[in-house]
Symmetry: C2
Subunit: 331 residues, 2 copies
Amino acid sequence: MNVNLMHGAGGEVMGELLKTLTAFKNNNAGGLGLESLDDGAVIPVNGTNIVLTTDSHVVRPIFFPGGDIGRISVCGTINDLAVMGARPIALTSAMIIEEGFEISGLARIVASMDQALEEAGAAIVTGDTKVVERGSLDGIIINTAGIGIADRPVRDSGLREGDQIIVSGTLGDHGISILAYREGFDLGDQLRSDVAPVWGMVDLALRAGEIHAMKDPTRGGFAAAINEMARKSGVSILLDEEQVPIRQSVRSAGELMGIDPLQVANEGKVVMGVPAADAEAVLAAIRSHPLGRDASIIGEVVTGSDVIMRTSIGGERFIEPPLGDPVPRVC
Amino acid sequence: MNVNLMHGAGGEVMGELLKTLTAFKNNNAGGLGLESLDDGAVIPVNGTNIVLTTDSHVVRPIFFPGGDIGRISVCGTINDLAVMGARPIALTSAMIIEEGFEISGLARIVASMDQALEEAGAAIVTGDTKVVERGSLDGIIINTAGIGIADRPVRDSGLREGDQIIVSGTLGDHGISILAYREGFDLGDQLRSDVAPVWGMVDLALRAGEIHAMKDPTRGGFAAAINEMARKSGVSILLDEEQVPIRQSVRSAGELMGIDPLQVANEGKVVMGVPAADAEAVLAAIRSHPLGRDASIIGEVVTGSDVIMRTSIGGERFIEPPLGDPVPRVC
């Protein structure tokens, strides 16, 4: 059997490929390892919880409204650390560059990475560079890995009955804007990627109350993330469509392209489950941060094994994880 | 200006590109950061020295005599940690796979990575997978990053006058064997990559005596590594050609292809500078390990700023860092 694009889309089909790629016997260093398939690993070192994570970025175009491959590569790793409850400390940057790439473009990418590091209070401390022959790669690929410190690591599987589900802002901005830009739609400033480091916002939330589970809805979007959280936690989630924040411009562009904003990547958002008693305090903390102004309580955790949306017209529908991502090369 | 293949070859030309790629203001997390351009970074965390490193692997062919891209991707990171004096703890694995790649090949690569992890006592604890469209990548690229713990971090810039230079075994095996294999030379089992995790051997050396500086001579080979160590340490190195271990098969194949074995990558070797008083003890420790049987004291550190080889016929020649690597896609 051969790998196909659906295998990399972060949806259900990817599970097959992951079975092969996670068949390591040496998969754990004493804490939370590869077997958890969480956003990062936890490694206890002399009483400190080190969180380790990695992401490769193949996004096209390299420069897009609201960001570029540099910003996304730093934010991707910062955000994976953040949703594990870890303060980002140090990142690596490994670039593979196609012969012929303009050095001025690299300088622009590096400046963009530096800006995102500044926003997150982290640093690129080591790196690697490979140059490959023309035609063997499409421009540039950037991998970042990173470590952070978590006083109390947060997993994506810790949802409990009665938890309130909070999203930190509007959904679908990144994926829909990337695709619209590729298709040549000009919607001005209304369609921009949300790519941003969420640690500052998550830090406020962690201080405001207990967080049982957290995830950043990147590839496969909110639909993939919420289903994974529900499945791993062994619970159902009941969502209220009226409360799910989606920009009108994103909704319209999604309808035009036949793409569901809930199934495409976000790069500056967080989904979490919070005990009902803490929900309002956590929501207020998130809203007090510039990235969290549109945060909303969108549902609750109940017994069962489905994700169900109560629609605005009074019906109910299942939110299924996407089989594959409608937007390849989105991150 | 555009990037060209010489920029990625680990030689002198690469310095230009590195200026652009290391222009981060946020480049240090309190210990040894990107500014050091060492094999890894050191991050002090609650009194523990965490070493962090990364490497992307683009080697072709994917399977070669003595190893494959999986083994090299694990060993590359293990060895970067080891030469920083760090016991490897946990690695990440980020794969970018071209549509159409056979899943059976992936399974073979994963098994090979697992074997190398087993040898080094480390684990892959987290990962990432991207699939890209056919034609946009040549098969597979693997990035690994990793963390280790160093009681006393070792840098590549700590050489002092009077230090003895030790290499842990024969030089040029990896680069020459990869190139010979590509050229279709059949030299049977005599030309094989040396790719192996060196931590076990380095651990013995660290326990046997003081190590002032250490590096693994990968891209650009021994010539690049020894020049970098000399330059960063502000010293000269006087080498004795008679003592430099090179396999006869490697020497012959190198002559046939016009390639200097000192200028191509090694993937299971270490170069170090050791105070004269400790040199014999450290050498004995290295030789007691299966990977270190051919270890040799090959020279000494003196005042100056050159690397000079006393040849076997009584002359002297400069060992210059290669401008570029004669073997692209070697690691």
